[in-house]
Every structure is written in C-alpha cells, then in structure tokens.
Amino acid sequence: MKAFVLDPPRCTGCEACRVACCIENRVPMERSWRTVHHANAEHRPDQPAFHLSLACNHCERPACLEGCPASAYRKDPATGAVVLDDSRCLGCRYCAWMCPYDAPRFDEARGVMAKCTFCRERLEAGKAPACTAACPTGALSVEDRRPGLEEPTFPGLFRERLGPALRIAAGALPLVPRMAVMDAAVEAPPTEARKVSLRSEWTLWLFTLAGMAMAGLQLGWVLGGPQVLPTWAFLAAGGAAGLLSASHLGRPERAWRAIANLRSSWLSREVLAFGVFVPSAALALALGSRGPLGWFSAFAGTALLVCMDRLYQVAERRPAWKSRSSDLLPAGLQLAALVAGAALPLALLAGVRAALFLAAEGFRWRGRTLRSTARVAALLVPAMAAASPWPVPPGALLLCFLAGEALDRAGFYAGFETPSPARQLLRAGFSARSADPA
C-alpha cells in the first residue's frame, strides 16, 4: 500500500504532475484529476507563496464512499486505492461535496464523476503513479503507507480523521525574505471556494422545501389538523419534487440506484424515506386514515426531514446539535404545529428558530435589514396570529410561513460551504487559485 508524499517548499507549482496525470489517464486539462492549488500567487509580501498538488488521497475512511448513495466507490484491498465504478455513478455530485480534497470531478459529457485511480495499473506493475514519476523537483512522490489514521497538517488541508494516504514532508513553509516593497496592499484575486450555489442547486432548494412542507402538513393532519392539499395535489407535488431532484443528476435514468448505500449514505436514506413517505402519505390521505397508516406516513415524513438535514450537515461537517434556522426538521415540526393548531409548540419552535436565525445572521442578513426582518416576521407572525383572538385566514398564515422558509432555505444554499483546499487556504489567510486567469 502506497501513500503520496508532498513537500510544499520543494514544489515550484510547475503543474507537470497535473499534465502527466492528464496524459496517463487521457483526461483533458479542464477536468484534470489532480489540481495544483496556488496560494498567494499575487505575492503578498508578508506571506509565502506556495502550492498544493492534490488529487484523491485514497483515504482509509473515504468520505466519498461513505456519502455515495449508489455504492459506486469501493476500497481496493490490494493497493488501498479508492476506486470509482462509474457504471454505477448517478452523477449526483454528493461525493464532491463530501471530499475535502476536491478529488471527484464531474464529467459533464458523460454525466458521471471521474477521479484519480492512484494509477492502480502502474502500482500493480511496480511503477509509481504518473504524477509522482513526472515531478521534476522531488516535491511529489510515493512511499509505503504508514498504518493508522494520521492526518496531515498544512494550510489548505481540512483536518478530520479520514486517514488520507498523504504525508506532508515539510514541517513549515519558509519565511519570506524582505522585499523591495513590504507595505503594499496587494489585492487577492477572488477565490471561488464553494462547490454549491443557489443557482446551481435550485432544484434541490425546491425539493427540500417541498419535502419539508409535505412532511409538516402530513404530521399536522395526523395530529388532528385539516387536510390542506387534496390527495391528488399531494401526490402531484411529491411526484414533481421527485422528478425535480432526479433532474439534477448526471444520469437520471440511474436514479433507482440511489438507495444502494443505506448502510452509510444519508442521501440513500433520504431517497428511501421519500419513496416510502409520499405513497404512504397519499394513501393515508385518500383513505382518510389518521390511524396507524397515518402515523406511519407521518413518521416516514419526519425521517425524511432528518435524513435531508443530516446529508447537508455531514457534507458541511456540522454537528447535528448545531441547528440552523433553515434546518428542515424543526421547520416541518413548526408547520405541523401550525396546521394542528398546537399554539405552545408553535410559539416555542418559532421563538427558538428566530433566535437561531438572529444569532447566526444578525439583524442585517446579507447586508439587508429588510431581509432579516422579513425572515423573522415570517416565523413569528403565524405563531402570534394563531394565538391571537382575531381571525386570520389560515391559508395566509401558511403562505407567510412558507415564504419565510423559502427565503431562509435560499440563504442556506447561497452560503452552503463544504470543506475544500481552496476554502481551507482562505481560512488560513491565503488567497487560492487553481487555474491561471485568462
């Protein structure tokens, strides 16, 4: 079993490793499996400029494998390589969210992921991976893997116990010698460190909102509230949400494979919960059965919300207890309380979630006081209206609540970040660039 060794002070950022990888694997540079992250390329005088050449680190506990709903990844016992079987891949890109090294790359043309194979065939033939064989400065090499889950520490690397086959040879970066101009303010070029944005993931925004609304409505109904959506509309909404979420896959026709990894993937569990919830809830509604079937469907809906929240939390490395106002489970419960007319839980949830929101975003959300006010109002108004003596049409309260959720959820996607070398470099105070500016 082998491991990469990276010696950043020796690396000149020449990108021979990346070129060699592309040649070996017949991959175009635009989708290269190895990326050289250039830190401080603009040469701020108080910082070293350095490079991190990263591909897949073939972790002992691969986050990609854990998250992949289709079980497309496996760990090769002979070489330790994390191997992607792209004939199983759905192209959901969740592995890219999960991997803190940005190793899995999406191949638009084929609709599936692609990644470093550790040059398994070369390793088996006793040769070094192409990237390391090419490195002209000895900055990137391979060695026999040391046992255990030792985590390398270096700016740009996210620390968690994945057990990457990567050792950083250098303890520290060299100090920067004094330069002609030490006090110049050098503007760092903008770094795009985020893999997710609302624009790219608007289908997921709608899907999660729909899931939350349907689960909340169902629970509220089971708890004695009115049936808000006619059964046909409920089914149609569920079908549309399912189709919408499948549409973001690179290979929608393989969507059925999404429950292949219930053992470790919250995404698989989400898909299963969704698949159980929608028909069971529709059936319960059609039969008017608030009994065991109704409770079963409400339970499935709640499980769906748990899975949805967990899959995002796991990807952004957020502990479950660090709740956000945009989380779906509390939103669904609040909706259920609203529908069921349970004033106390409603008020409690609204209050807690408003507090969470204000604690995280303050009174000027993304620079706007109005947005913050609208968000908090959408949480509190339905709760207060439900407790108030004046009659307010329930439909208006529902819409007000949902509008607030849509707003908050949109903010969630706009700010959603998963660990990546670029983000870690930024957090360490370095600008990061992985391609030369055109």
Partner: protein, 674 residues
Amino acid sequence: MPTFTTACPRNCYSTCGLRVEVEDGRVRRVEPNPDNRATGQGVCLKGLSYVERASSPHRITRPLERRGGEFVAVSWEHALDRMAAEFEGIRRESGPQAVLYYAGSGSKGLLNGVGMAFWRQFGGCTTTYGDLCWPAGLEATRLTLGDNKHNAPWDLENARLVVLWGRNSAETNVHQMDHLAKALAKGAKLVVVDPRRTESAERADLLLQPVPGTDGALALAVARELIVHGRIDEAFVRDHVLGFEAFRNLAMAWTLERAEAACGVPAELLRRFAELLGASRPFTLCPGFGMQRYTNSGQTLRALLALPVLCGQIGVAGGGWCYANLQTQVFAPVKDPLDFYPPARPDGVVRVGLSTARLGADMLALQDPPLRAAWVERGNPIPQNPATPQVLEAFRKLEFRVVVEEFLTDTAREADLVLPAKNLFEQTDVIGAYWHPYLQLRPKIVEPPPEVLPETEIYWRLAERLGFDRAAMERELVPPGGEEEWLRRRLAPWPELTLERLAEGPVLAPGAEEVAFADRRFPTPSGRIELWSDEAKSRWGRDELPRFEPPLESPGAEFPLRLLTPNSKNRIHSQFGFLDLLKPLEPAPLLALSPVDAAARGLRSGDRARVSNGRGGLVLGVRVDGGVLPGVCFVPNGFWLSEGAVNLLSEARETDMGHGAAFHDNCVQVERAP
C-alpha cells in the same frame, strides 16, 4: 509497450534524458531517464506534452504552398521543382548571397550542420551573426576565464551558498531546483537577485531586487565590501588573477550608499549579501540569461564574475560560476561564442552579414546583392527577434520564402512554401547540452507521417534537383537513410563515443570535468583570470575593466517603466504554448505590475491595459504582483502575434559585447485600455 531512451533537443538548460513509450506507432508516454544525473528526477510539463505535440492535429504533414491568401497542400515533386527554379533563378540573376539562410535554435542536433553544408554547395548564401540568447554572458565569461564551462549540475549540492542572480530556475531550468533543494536540505543558504520575486526566490534567505540593468554596480559594491573586510582569497588572486589592483580601484568607488542610490537595494541588504558571500565556502553563483540582454550586460556579467573569482571559488567543488557549460561542444571547430562572430576574413562564399539582434533592419539595408529569398528552419524570427514589425516588413519584401516547420507559426504564415519538419522522435541524431556534460542520442523511434521528410532529406533531394556535385553531396550531405553513417563519421575521432554506447544512455562528453577549471588553467591571453581584459577594449571598444555604465534606454517621463520579457515555464520561447495540455495554464500573456504602479494607474488584476512605447503597443490583461519591483513591469515572451507578442515593443539593438540582443533595454508606458 516498447520503451526508448532519447533526449529533448529544445533550447533549454535541462536537455532532459527521456524514456519514451510508443504505442501503435505513436508516443504514448514520456518519463525521465534516471541515467541522466542532472535531469533524472522528472520531466518538465513541456517534455511530457510531446505526447500531444508529436501527433497534434495542427501539425504540418504535407508541403504547403501559398496561393493567394491561403495555403494549399502540394506534392513534394511540386515543392522541390518550385524551390529549384526559384533558387536557381535568384542565384543566376543576383548570386547565391541573395538568399538568406536563417537557422534558429528550436531544435538541437549534429545533423543541423547539414544545412550550412548545403548552402555552401549551392555557392553560398547570406546568414546572420550573433545570437538572441546568451552571447554577452558567454563573451564576458570567455574574456575572464578563457572558456565557458562550469561544474556538473549535481555539484551544486555541495555548495554552502547558492546565488541565483537574474536566474529563475524554477521556470527555466526546473531540474536545477532539485539539486538546489538538496543543497538547502544540507544547510546551504540561498540568495536571489532579481527585480521580481520569482518562484525560485520563495526559499531564499535574502532577496535583492535591483533596478534592472544596474546589477553591475551592485556587484562592484559587493566586491568592495569583500575587499575592504578582507574576505577575498588573496592567495588565489595573487596566483591566478590579472588586473586585481585596477579592479580594486574601480570597485573602491562603489560604496554601499552609492550602490543603493544606483540599484535601489538598501545598503543594509547589500552588506548582508557581502557577509554571506564572505562567510560561505564554497559558493556557486548562477547568473541568468535575462540579465545579459541589456546594452551594458557584457560588462555586468564581468563584474558579477569577479565575485567568485575574488573569493577563489573557481575550480572548487560546490563553487563556481554556473553560466554555460559548453563541454559537450566537442564537435565544433570553434566554440560559442566565437562561432557567432562574423569571420575576420570573409571567405566570399557565405556572407555573414546580418546581426540577429537587428535582423529586420539589416535585411532591409543589405546591398550587393540585396536579399531576394529566405530559407528559415528551427526558428520563428518574426515574433521572437527584436523589433517584430521590422522583421515582418523585411520578410514581406522578399520574393520567395521557405519555412521548414512543424506548426504554422507566425513566420511560417509568411512563407511561400512551408515544408513539414520532422520532430524529435523521427530522425536519429546526437545532441549536446549547455548545462550538463552529457552527449545523448535521440534515436528515430517512430515513423514520421508519410509526407514528412527530415531536413537532411529535403536538402538531398533539392541538391539533386539543383545538380550539385555528387561527390561533394556524398561527402557532406546525408542521403535518405544515411544519418547513422554520417553520425558515425562525426563521432569517429572519439573511440568512446559510438552510437551503440550512446544508445544505452547519456554519455559524458570526452574530457568532461565534474569540477571545471580544477586544474586552474585559464585559456585567456595571459593564462590568468582576466579582470582586466585588453580584448574587451580591442574587440568591443569597452573598458578593460567591468566599469558600470547604465543601459542605453532609461525610464523617463514619457516611458517610465522598464519592461522585462522573461521566459515562462509553460513554453520554450514560441514553442509548446498552444497545445491543449499547456494552453489552459497560460492562455494569454498578462502584464505584471507592482501594486504601486498599478495603483498609480487605477489598475487592478483582471483589468486591461495598453503597454506601449515609441515602437509599438499591446493591449493585455493586468496582473498585479506584490513581488514586482516598482518601476518594472513584465510580460512573458513567446506568445504569438495573435496572442500578444512582446517584440512589437523591443528595439533592434545589440548588447555591448557578443552580438547578443538587448531585449530588456526597453522602457514603456502602461495605461488603462479604453
């Protein structure tokens, strides 16, 4: 998959030993050859990209003839007939010297010599003197040490101090970085002298950023510090150096304060540099080529070279002056730089009548006879020689132009006939180097495309058409398939150099010295290291001492910034940059500016700016770089005219010695582009 041992013939320090895998007649993989001790660690990204370059769809694979505004593929029969008729006619009407034979440095190999042999048999031609690359430094070294050679590349690992002076090895000689890293791992120190904070400076203990063109003054001031503080090797100076007294008097005038005023480097840093030089034994000084592309640069390099000389660092392991290592030039009767110079007595056959640095202007000015045709091979002079507009005008004025090329370069686009050139995998040849001491075989390992002929075969067929003397042809040219026989004849004087031995791997050149000048024999007129050189005066009209004079062009109100046009890691001059594998790394040339100069112009990274002077202008993207000395800007050279070729801005001007090109004697203004 069959694997072959070969070597990269580009104009580059490294001249890497390669192992190449071939699959279905195509190059599939390029890997380093560990038998080459200098470059065994790895292959640079350009070397790797031969996999694409060798079978690129953009390669020229048939003769192309210009008809109207476009190129049409024609048969070799037609191309040869046309060339024979044109050259025959010009020779008859104007004499053979109306034909320019222009050979660049795009590809190394002994067989390149066949070109000049052909033109001599043609009756003569006109050709160039000087060289674009490095002659001022070669001449400075020759005048001082008598010869251009240095320690083996791996000997750098023995140095206790390495000085990279105007040399960015990380981009231009990446294999040196491995040897440097090994020296640093053993505790060596690194000093970098460069107006830019380059990639090579990242591990430096000391970075000095002098105003470009003032390095000579810096060196004299540091020499003074060494002398004043008794840190020179007096015994070495006494036994081996000519002109020390005079040099000392020159240097004594350069106090640190005066140097600070001239170079912009704080005196405190100059003192620290002198202390490091004084305290570190051995030390190696590695000057770069860019620094000797000024009108004062021969003198600059003489001043720099005085430092290791005064410290007794010539001829010691881990020490020395690592400029050029011509120990593999065993085949040439006259070594560089002397073979760049016009002959003292012209032979009347070949008119060595054009300065490479002034190619366009000299071509236009030439009379008796004026030039009517040109043959260009291994070069792309239109964007790469100084004063691109003049070169372009001169080529366009000719009646008939032949360019031998792999790709449709800016020069090939101007041709009447473009002849497809072989690549490095398609004909056997032997190549030397100028950094390491290995001779290497570059065997034929794949068949060229069916219509691609090696240059030697083009010459042979053309010679047949032109009715050259058969015996002379057999003696000096290469019949089809006759390369190996021809090479064997060239190698014959050295029994240790056989094609069989070379086929096994890199072979040290006969007599190669791991530590150059270890015998302390200096082939100068005095037999000593000459800090005082009469030849500097007699041949070049310069001071016998390396007296500092500022470069000819200095920043003024109109053009306040110095423009440097260095090489980048992504190309060798104008080669490689267009490949799909490399283009994404540097899709366009960017103008790098210091934050101070950018702010003064309201420019930010990503903006577009016009860089111009009295000679021309270019609009380029801006990159604000905190590592650039204020007053300096730089744009990498090697981009094509369509992308932004920097020689639209350069002046056709020679260096102070060696007939080099003073590319960096170039001041510009930068303004926001409308």
